[in-house]
């Protein structure tokens, strides 16, 4: 009982990490394809410069989620694989094209062929738009009987895309040099737009759960769910306010917290279901010996991964900022 819940918590934490870190990389692709105006090349360079060293590490969180899922909850993995056969395949194609196009562009050395660079940029950006929508739709489908095309999954897909764009824009305000005021201002403006869309879409998704997924609504408004949702709302206002006041570090922290609370709230409201309404995490769980193996190796794995990850982010943080 405790093991199942603990591992579901680990999986949820990994989804949060993927959302907060990997989501921003998808958002980078979104802003790449949306870049307009005289600064567009500077914006694209800043995005590529920021993503370059970290996107592969951020991507591993998704693999981590999958591994926890099929090790600890093999039945759920089998059911998800059957029920979400086509959307998952499209996600894979999106992931492959996103990663491939990013490195092809970054390492092609396009000084002499800007047209080709643009073509790869379109593939990179297009895949970065489609993939989070599909991932958001899949989360929505998990809450509504594996029905992918429905009001709730579609709204959650749109929300996921908006969140990715928001996170990326907020993070990018910190990835520009102090003396690049206009680039930072551009990302701040984008962040404010995307943040407004996030708030609007959240305002649609929340009431939608009342009609489409009553168990989610009940969970989100319950004694355990409401504080998390409340904290998410608080973080959302904080990050928005900090952006307005140009407190960019606070905005980044609060934006990450906002997404974390949002995903965590969804996960708590989903409890005890892995796939609503057919499969609970207790029905889907692997035998205790397997769950113990994953739980006992987790600290050792994290001891290897987390310090390395922190070092990675420190080395490539603004200590040596990007200047075009």
């Amino acid at each position: 009982m405790v093991r199942e819940v603990a591992l579901a918590g680990v999986a949820l934490a990994a989804v949060v990490a993927y959302g907060v870190l990997g989501g921003a990389d998808f958002g980078g692709g979104v802003w790449d394809i949306l870049a307009r105006g005289p600064r567009k090349q500077d914006e694209r360079n800043a995005i590529a410069h920021t993503m370059g060293p970290v996107w592969e590490a951020n991507h591993v969180w998704l693999i981590f989620v999958i591994v926890i899922l099929f090790t600890a909850f093999p039945r759920a993995y089998a059911e998800l694989s059957i029920g979400l056969f086509l959307p998952f395949h499209l996600v894979l194609i999106g992931i492959s094209l996103r990663g491939g196009a990013f490195v092809f562009r970054a390492h092609g050395g396009y000084v002499d062929a800007p047209g080709q660079a643009r073509a790869w940029g379109v593939v990179f950006g297009g895949a970065s738009v489609i993939t989070p929508v599909l991932l958001g739709m899949s989360l929505g489908a998990v809450s509504s009987g594996l029905r992918v095309v429905g009001p709730l999954p579609l709204a959650m897909g749109a929300l996921a895309l908006a969140i990715c764009a928001y996170l990326a824009a907020v993070y990018l305000t910190l990835e520009t040099d102090e003396n690049q005021g206009d680039l930072r201002a551009a990302f701040r403006r984008k962040a404010l737009y995307a943040g407004t869309v996030v708030v609007a879409l959240s305002g649609i998704v929340l009431p939608l759960t009342y009609f489409e997924a009553p168990h989610l609504w009940a969970g989100l408004t319950s004694a355990t769910g409401a504080p998390v949702v409340g904290a998410g709302v608080l973080a959302a206002w904080t990050s928005g306010g900090a952006l307005v006041l140009r407190k960019f570090r606070l905005a980044r922290l609060a934006a990450a917290a906002q997404v974390a609370f949002l995903v965590a709230g969804w996960g708590l409201a989903q409890y005890p279901y892995l796939i609503y309404p057919s499969l609970t995490l207790f029905d889907a769980a692997a035998p205790p010996a397997t769950l113990d193996f994953v739980l006992y190796t987790l600290p050792f794995g994290l001891l290897l991964v987390l310090p390395s990850l922190i070092w990675l982010f420190r080395v490539f943080s603004r200590a040596r900022p990007f200047s075009p």
Partner: protein, 487 residues
């Protein structure tokens, strides 16, 4: 269900998709995905080793051409690792997407191997970012150790995944009760007797394949007249690693085959096209095995060969396919020819490296004035041509080896426990996703070849006489900065 959305129903293409049953399509998609990923997995394991060796040589000697090599190889690594990471992600999904019943059955057992592999891959992805982008951000020592972390975690990652595959070949760590696994031991994959031999065989194969591929690339450059220190030392490093690993593959392959013989007699019999159980069994090379008549046409027989190989004794009785019920036999012709292709490629590589070292040794005796001079400048053209011709053989051997390992396991997905057809997804549309993946991988592969060729041309430009010296410093990592502004 899906086809009506696409407006191609009734076309010949649609009819072909409809004709493909789910099992065939799922196997084809898995084969394409694995076959594609395998190349990048091998490169991801071995190429970081090459860049680390080159950087270590630079740190020891201070020779700039070693630094240039390390940067060149790290740049290739960054392209190849990214493709390997996405195709690996695709596989982790496809295990469930194509074989949900297999994952439902075995997720709780082999998941332990994948969980540990997850951490190894995480470490690899982190340090590859530090290595590729950290040339001027961390100290040279820290940079080199980041590369070493990539090498170690990449190798560990491969070895851990191998545990899951070994478990499919020789499953351990559970009791089968009413078709379900009970009394699960998560250490099961690591208790599979095939794990260690397969891991050693595959890790060596990765290094050998990459070594001869690298040797071929630089031999080609030298054939075009570029016999500069960067080319000669790259060829030298590659041939040191290639010769050692190709040589070690002989005992490692022998052990792997004999472990297979002990635990998967049907696979060994198919590998050797050995139909009739007998002592003094001959070794059959090549030929066309015919499962209907249980004979091999046009094969070359070496008397006692198989008994000697399996038991190191001509009187060893080798069980043939006649011991295996017909519905449990793998397709002999594919497995046998793939096995011969693998062994033949390995032998050819061994021969090429032996000739290379012979030439180098003779060259050194005659040119004792310059003992440190690599064979490069003096290498005869025919040797370079042979190296170029041999360069794809290592990857050919890897692909053929995986065909032996996986097709030889058929019709089982878990040997002796679960048949492949029991594991396949009931979801509609597998034929469609198979074609989508073929297109995706063909496009990615073709683009990658285009980029690598261009990278090689740049090496040529940088190294050609009269050109500016290779800008080994900051330009590689800063390429994005050079992108045109306001285009």
């Amino acid at each position: 269900m899906i086809k009506h959305h696409w407006g191609w129903s009734g076309t010949p293409f649609d009819r072909r998709i409809q004709a493909m049953d789910a099992l065939t399509a799922a196997r084809a998609q898995m084969e394409v995905s694995l076959g594609f990923h395998m190349i990048f997995a091998a490169l991801g394991i071995a190429l970081p080793g090459f860049m680390c060796v080159a950087e270590a040589l630079y740190l020891r000697t201070g020779c700039p051409h070693y630094l240039a090599l390390a940067k060149r190889w790290s740049k290739a690594t960054s392209l190849l690792f990214a493709i390997g990471a996405v195709s690996g992600t695709a596989l982790s999904f496809e295990l469930g997407l194509l074989w949900p019943r297999f994952m439902e059955f075995s997720g709780g057992i082999i998941g332990s191997a994948f969980a540990l592999e997850g951490y190894a891959f995480f470490v690899e992805a982190i340090f590859i970012g530090l290595y590729l982008y950290g040339w001027d951000r961390i100290s040279p020592r820290a940079h080199w150790f980041s590369g070493l972390a990539v090498v170690l975690s990449g190798t560990a990652s491969g070895v851990l995944v191998m545990a899951a595959n070994a478990w499919m070949q020789a499953p351990r760590g559970f009791d089968l009760v009413d078709g379900r696994p009970m009394n699960i031991d998560p250490w099961g994959p690591f208790k599979s007797p095939e794990w260690i031999p397969m891991s050693i065989h595959m890790t060596l194969a990765a290094y050998a394949a990459v070594a001869f591929a690298v040797a071929g690339v630089y031999a080609l450059g030298m054939l075009k007249g570029r016999r500069d220190p960067e080319h000669t030392s790259a060829l030298h490093v590659a041939m040191v690693i290639g010769a050692i690993t190709a040589l070690l593959q002989v005992p490692s392959g022998d052990i792997a085959a004999r472990v297979s013989a002990a635990h998967q007699p049907a696979k060994l019999a198919a590998m050797e096209a050995h139909y009739e159980t007998r002592r003094e069994a001959p070794l059959v090379l090549g030929g066309i095995p015919d499962d209907a008549s249980e004979t091999v046409r046009y094969g070359v027989e070496i008397p006692y060969g198989l008994s000697l190989l399996v038991g190191h004794d001509p009187q060893t009785e080798v069980p043939g396919l006649d011991r295996v019920p017909r519905d449990q036999r793998p397709p002999t012709a594919i497995v046998h020819l793939a096995f011969d292709l693998m062994v033949g490629s390995g032998m050819a590589l061994l021969a090429v490296s032996a000739i290379y070292w012979l030439v180098r040794w003779r060259g050194r005796r005659t040119q004792s004035a310059a003992p440190a001079e690599p064979v490069g400048r003096a290498a005869p053209r025919w040797l370079l041509v042979a190296l170029v011709a041999a360069s794809p053989l290592g990857f050919l051997a890897i692909e053929a080896g995986w065909v032996v390992s996986e097709v030889g396991r058929q019709p089982w997905v878990i040997y002796g426990v679960m048949r492949t057809r029991e594991a396949v997804t009931p979801a509609p549309g597998v034929a469609l996703t198979f074609f989508l993946f073929v297109i995706l991988y063909a496009a990615l592969g073709a683009t990658l070849v285009f980029f690598l060729r261009r990278m090689a041309r740049r090496t040529a430009l940088a190294a050609s006489p009269g050109a500016a010296p290779p800008r080994a410093g900051a330009n590689e990592t800063n390429e994005m900065k050079e992108a045109p502004h306001g285009a």
